[in-house]
Symmetry: C2
Amino acid sequence: VKTGDLQTPSLLVDVDRLQGNIARMAAIAREAGVDLRPHGKTHKTPQIGRLQLAAGSRGLTVAKLGEADVFADAGIADLFIAFPLWGDAKWEHLCRLAERARVRVAADSFEVLEGISRTAVRHGLRVPVRLEVDSGFGRCGLQSPEEVRALAQRMSALPGVELVGLMGFGGQSYAEATAEGVQRVARAEAVQLVTIAELLRADGIAVDEISAGSTPTAPYVAQVPGITEIRPGTYVFSDRDQVALGWGTLDDCALTLLVTVVSRPTPTRAVIDGGTKTFGADQAARVPGWGVVRGRPEVTVAWLSEEHGNLEVPPDAHLPIGSRLEIIPNHCCGALAMHDRLVAVSGDEVVEVWPIAARGKVQ
Amino acid sequence: VKTGDLQTPSLLVDVDRLQGNIARMAAIAREAGVDLRPHGKTHKTPQIGRLQLAAGSRGLTVAKLGEADVFADAGIADLFIAFPLWGDAKWEHLCRLAERARVRVAADSFEVLEGISRTAVRHGLRVPVRLEVDSGFGRCGLQSPEEVRALAQRMSALPGVELVGLMGFGGQSYAEATAEGVQRVARAEAVQLVTIAELLRADGIAVDEISAGSTPTAPYVAQVPGITEIRPGTYVFSDRDQVALGWGTLDDCALTLLVTVVSRPTPTRAVIDGGTKTFGADQAARVPGWGVVRGRPEVTVAWLSEEHGNLEVPPDAHLPIGSRLEIIPNHCCGALAMHDRLVAVSGDEVVEVWPIAARGKVQ
């Protein structure tokens, strides 16, 4: 089967570019001597997780227990749930998962730790926990070294939970305008975590795992002594936003939308059969518009409604109704979340169709 | 089962509010003497389509053949595909659908009509077509009365396709700042279609179906003599954006996200277990932010990342970790597209769980 035989819109992943991205981040981690635990939220696809493991990743990061189940079912059995879990049902779920996979979980409050502790004791488990530190992004996380030390101390009295490390996430790197800015955020995130780990060690608390970095920051974070793990997600596909942030070139972007021109209302307007319910509605932090048309620099994706995409074209461009285009989205995670399957291609050859099995696992 | 027993995040639809919205638009159509053909893209859920039909809707509108299949399978057999279809596979699909359901399709080019014609002839069918007119939104559609007349003339020579009507979509109403602005767009859309229909009739071409209007414009469009059908979608749930545009009040909004506070990093920040992959990433045309917390006006949804939502709370607000909140999204269509199921509730009682069966039917 050729890509020309596919119906549109289709979500394509170029396996050669995919493997290139996977290899490149694996090399960065290997050379820096840190573990690589890619975030599975980006691809939600067991086949891609397995490629990451085959290239040397230790396991995956996930945001949801439902995602963790899908990966564990697929034999990916070393999982970090980088999200605070609340409620008996979730703590039960976590413990059942911990009985069949190697699981770590993030926490930033005594309340959450107490719940996990209570449930883990009932299961006869000791759940490894990484405390989350706010790296300045202003989302989850403990706010100061003192807060981390105090929670680590209180936690040491709880059975069923074990402090194994720290995590940070410098998400503010996405708003930085220059490579130097991204680097500065990365360094600050890493140094903060390493410093806090030293304080905990001085308190007699062993902290072995210091996990930091997303795609833009991971290559820098990995260089800071003391960091043991990086958790990039988007690198696996890359997208227009990541290219603007410094990860490879547009030619390295592995994920595209294959679409068809279905209407040519005016000499400068073409409408395609994909909108926000095909590309995702996320606009990227650093790049305007909605995507880049591969190989057609004269065509711009002007705006999207839900099921239509409006392209602007020069009046003399040859782009008749029925033309097929491949469009690199601004943000690959958002695009992927709209689809049930990912068509793996090599050149114009369809290699396989991968179910996006962890899609919709919102809990 | 009570809503308190549900895991979070969950997408809830309040069936009483849902039925209220369905009844209200049905009454508007009935009183104006026009057909109501709600857009199924909003709910993608056969159970809701059946409620709309039970309240007097003639059928549904859809954007995708895959959505049409889901509704036809559920016994909703009068469907308008309001999207130009291109390619042999889609034309075949359309004809197979037309063999088991009453189908109309939109078109705005001779190329598309020719393809449908060729395939329909092979199937021994005559497919009813509505020509799309650009209502000033600047997306699909013929650009002038002359273009419509010319295409209608050329089309009359094609076997297998039958011109039955016109459609418009004044999507620019979403950018209007006042009710008067919305009304002006509605009136312009309706008058344009009715005027063109008269021209076609003067040419000896029968045009029986004049279809216009979305949720903000439908109540006005329905009043214009000559309009035979309205196609609102979002009204069925309503959302913060529609309320700003004039459809009911926040209390009429039927769709909410049930979420849990999972972290309280600071006295003024609470983090919930839902982000853009729970609420959708669409920001609304007319309202800032990401949603309204039902019953907690002092809490604002400040920003979302993919799996986290950041709330701003007054320092003295009682909102401990584990608190559950119901949040009305800015744009219900975007929220719904992120979920596999919709929990139908009445008060705090879970009535049923509805699969969002047409979700992910991107083709």
